[in-house]
């Protein structure tokens, strides 16, 4: 938020002239009927995407010359706002003259670019970027119908943010490489989540299979697990630094030293000790212990014995260790 956002831009003022013109007078609005296509010796494909209950619906008509797989004519019908109608119109325009295989390569980004007045200025405000995604989806569906394959087979990777076309794989990589911890950072790095915001978390404009919040959480967990695994591996090979161990590893390491080098002397005097907690501070790694049996209240437990325990642990584990009896 800054000065420019205080009033906020009016939604419709952010539309390009092309969007406005096509909304008012769509060029390819209409239907192609089966009988007419047949009479011309062509095949008709009609695909629906979305529904009124979703707030957006489009029906795409392709008249295809089967000899060359070329889309010779295309029309649309749309239940939607101005940008949905303008996007559908440009989509049909882009399809005409292409083969089905070429048309499948048209993405929502192409549709949005075609709606721009100049290449540098987006045709629609961020929250409307989503409308052109419908165009992309319905083309896949029409192509799937014509080629007799599942429309999802055209998608080579899992797209999490459709507006910016960012894949799951890209997101996971970027989070790991840059050690990202917030959704804002993900948007800054990838643009994902910067447009209609549906992919950020459930409850947005559109229901998604993957959400950024989940991807971030799962990737962070994966990163933590990798870290822990690395620590465990290092520990197993005896190479790990005490500071890098997980808490459980630290407790085990301390216990092992106590068992090996300390406990026998305490037991000889009828005493014992246990480790209560380990807490790293800025200066020390504090190990809280409790004396048991005869050690409890023994004069030496706060002086000589304590010194012996601490220096043993310091020597074997880390010079930063401080032992605090409670």
């Amino acid at each position: 938020m800054a000065k420019a956002d205080i009033l906020g831009e009016s939604l419709w003022d952010a539309y390009s002239d092309k969007v406005t013109t096509l909304m008012n007078n769509p060029l390819h609005q209409g239907e192609i009927f089966e009988a007419d296509a047949q009479a011309r010796g062509h095949k008709l494909i009609v695909a629906d995407f979305g529904a009124e209950s979703c707030g957006d619906a489009v029906r795409l008509y392709w008249e295809i010359d089967s000899k060359t797989d070329t889309i010779v004519n295309s029309k649309f019908k749309s239940f939607g706002c101005g940008t949905a109608i303008a996007s559908s119109d440009v989509m049909t325009e882009l399809c005409i003259g292409k083969t089905v295989k070429e048309a499948v390569k048209i993405t929502n980004i192409d549709v949005e670019m075609a709606l721009r007045d100049d290449p540098e200025t987006p045709a629609v405000p961020p929250q409307k970027m989503h409308c052109s995604v419908m165009a992309y989806d319905v083309i896949k569906k029409a192509a799937g119908l014509y080629m007799g394959v599942d429309s999802e087979s055209f998608e080579e990777e899992i797209i999490v943010c459709e507006c910016a076309r960012v894949s799951l794989k890209t997101l996971q990589e970027v989070i790991k490489l840059n050690d990202l911890t917030t959704i804002e950072q993900i948007t800054d790095y990838t643009k994902a989540g910067g447009f209609c915001k549906s992919c950020i978390k459930p409850g947005g404009h559109e229901e998604r299979e993957y959400y950024l919040v989940d991807i971030l959480r799962d990737t962070r967990r994966e990163m933590d697990e990798e870290k822990m695994k690395a620590a465990a591996d290092a520990s197993a090979s005896g190479e790990s630094k005490f500071e890098d161990m997980t808490l459980v590893q630290q407790i085990k390491a301390v216990d092992a030293i106590i068992d090996d080098s300390v406990r026998q002397f305490l037991v000889m005097d009828g005493g014992d000790m246990e480790v209560i907690d380990i807490k790293p501070t800025d200066e020390y790694i504090d190990i809280y212990i409790r004396y048991l049996g005869a050690c409890n209240g023994c004069a030496s437990s706060a002086t000589g014995t304590l010194y012996a325990i601490e220096s043993t642990l310091k020597e074997k584990l880390s010079s930063n260790i401080r032992v605090l009896p409670i």
């Binding site: 239907e31 009927f33 494909i45 629906d48 707030g55 957006d56 019908k77 706002c81």
Partner: protein, 402 residues
């Protein structure tokens, strides 16, 4: 011709109101809290405005009506201070409201939930209103406040405030009503209805923006939201906004002095408009007419997406509103229409037309024509009205989006 039919969003300031406000900008500009005559010069006008507001809602002299900056402030004040007084510093922990309140109530309730308050959001019936008995069922010993709107901004439906007030009184629970859409549209008589607090806003009844009020029954205690000097008895600090207070007084007087007659005239135009629009096939209007504010129509038009319809109306110089703009990030469909259990399909097709006492018969005629033209154009483009069926396998089985 241009026609403004978005009077539930805001209204034109009545020129008579502007006239009344004018002297208090550059002529009588003293701070009313000052001792000198520059300050006291505005006192008669402020007193008059206070009288006008008390009279308009029939408040008793033992009650307080405190001027605020807007109804959002009034709503925040009640909710946040009930939290402070009865939840943080008391033994209550529960607030009851409805699913269809204005965002200034809903967002504040969400905020209070984050602070640990239990909030019940009551559902509405097929008429879009909360039934009084539903409220009764949810009141517990921990309930600090019931906050239910007097009339809906979206549908114009009037809630059973008198019955809810009686239930709250019987149960000893405080009752607040956001009366923004009621005051100035229908008679609000606080001698006949039991409410502890009501919120009002001047710009909804042809007064200026930036001024509202909170009614507080029997001057009961409520921690201030804004702390500062001892303005308005210390209840709400900030130098009195003299011209706007004067404007609100005049506006509420003009809106309420002949409210039954004015309301009937608006209702007549509204009904004529509504009758003409429902002649279109596959349309329906939310809520029974007799129980609506006289100026409001929320109409659903099958096959015509709300924002697309607004676009075409705007091209025809008509300003209306939709709760279902497909750009909104959180509200996919009109929440009120979903709440009343409307078909999902219709929830994206709501258009709200809200008239005022300045709406003319010519404007109604003009709107009827343009509205029908817009519906015809958009239905011609609409996939909902397409004839050629999809290729087998190409149809949508269910909503693939949301």
């Amino acid at each position: 011709m241009q026609v403004y039919l978005d009077n539930n969003a805001t209204t034109m300031v009545d020129p008579l109101v502007v006239q009344e406000m004018m002297p208090f900008f550059s002529e009588i500009y003293g701070n009313p809290n000052s001792l000198h005559k520059f300050g006291t010069a505005s006192h008669p006008a402020i007193s008059k405005a206070i009288d006008q507001v008390y009279t308009a809602i029939n408040a008793s002299d033992a009650d307080d009506i405190i001027f605020t900056s807007c109804a959002t402030e009034s709503n925040n004040w009640v909710l946040q201070s009930i939290f402070t007084d009865y939840i943080v510093n008391g033994d209550k922990n529960h607030i009851i409201t409805s699913e269809v309140e204005h965002p200034s109530v809903l967002s504040t309730c969400k905020f209070l939930e984050e602070q640990g308050v239990k909030v019940t959001y009551l559902p509405v019936n097929d008429q879009g209103i909360v039934e009084a008995e539903t409220v009764r069922g949810f009141i517990t010993e921990k309930t600090a406040l019931v906050s239910i709107m007097w009339a809906s901004n979206e549908t114009g439906m009037i809630f059973p405030i008198a019955e809810i007030g009686e239930i709250c009184k019987e149960k000893g629970v405080l009752f607040h009503s956001d009366a923004v859409q009621a005051v100035g549209k229908i008679r609000v008589d606080l001698q006949k209805v039991h409410v502890d607090f009501i919120s009002m806003s001047a710009h909804k009844f042809h007064g200026p923006k930036g001024i509202g009020a909170l009614y507080i029954k029997d001057s009961q205690a409520l921690t201030p939201l804004l702390h500062g000097g001892e303005h308005m008895g210390g209840r709400r600090s900030g130098t009195l906004n003299v011209p706007y207070i004067v404007g609100m007084g005049k506006a509420i007087e003009l809106a309420t002095e002949n409210i039954e007659i004015t309301g009937a005239k608006i209702r007549e135009k509204r009904d004529r408009l509504e009758d003409a629009l429902v002649e279109l096939s596959d349309t329906f209007v939310v809520g029974e007419r007799w129980n609506r504010t006289p100026n409001t129509i929320l109409i659903s038009i099958r096959g015509v997406e709300g924002e697309g319809m607004l676009w075409d109306l705007n091209n025809g110089q008509i300003g209306a509103s939709t709760g279902s703009a497909c750009a909104s990030e959180d509200l996919e469909a009109n929440t009120v229409m979903l709440a009343i259990g409307a078909d999902n399909e219709l929830a994206h097709t709501g258009i709200r037309l809200s008239l005022s006492r300045f709406t003319t018969d010519e404007e109604v005629d003009y709107t009827i024509n343009h509205f029908k033209e817009a519906v015809a154009r958009l239905r011609a483009i609409s996939s909902s009205f397409a004839k050629q069926q999809p290729t087998v396998g190409g149809e949508v089985q269910e909503c693939e989006l949301h």
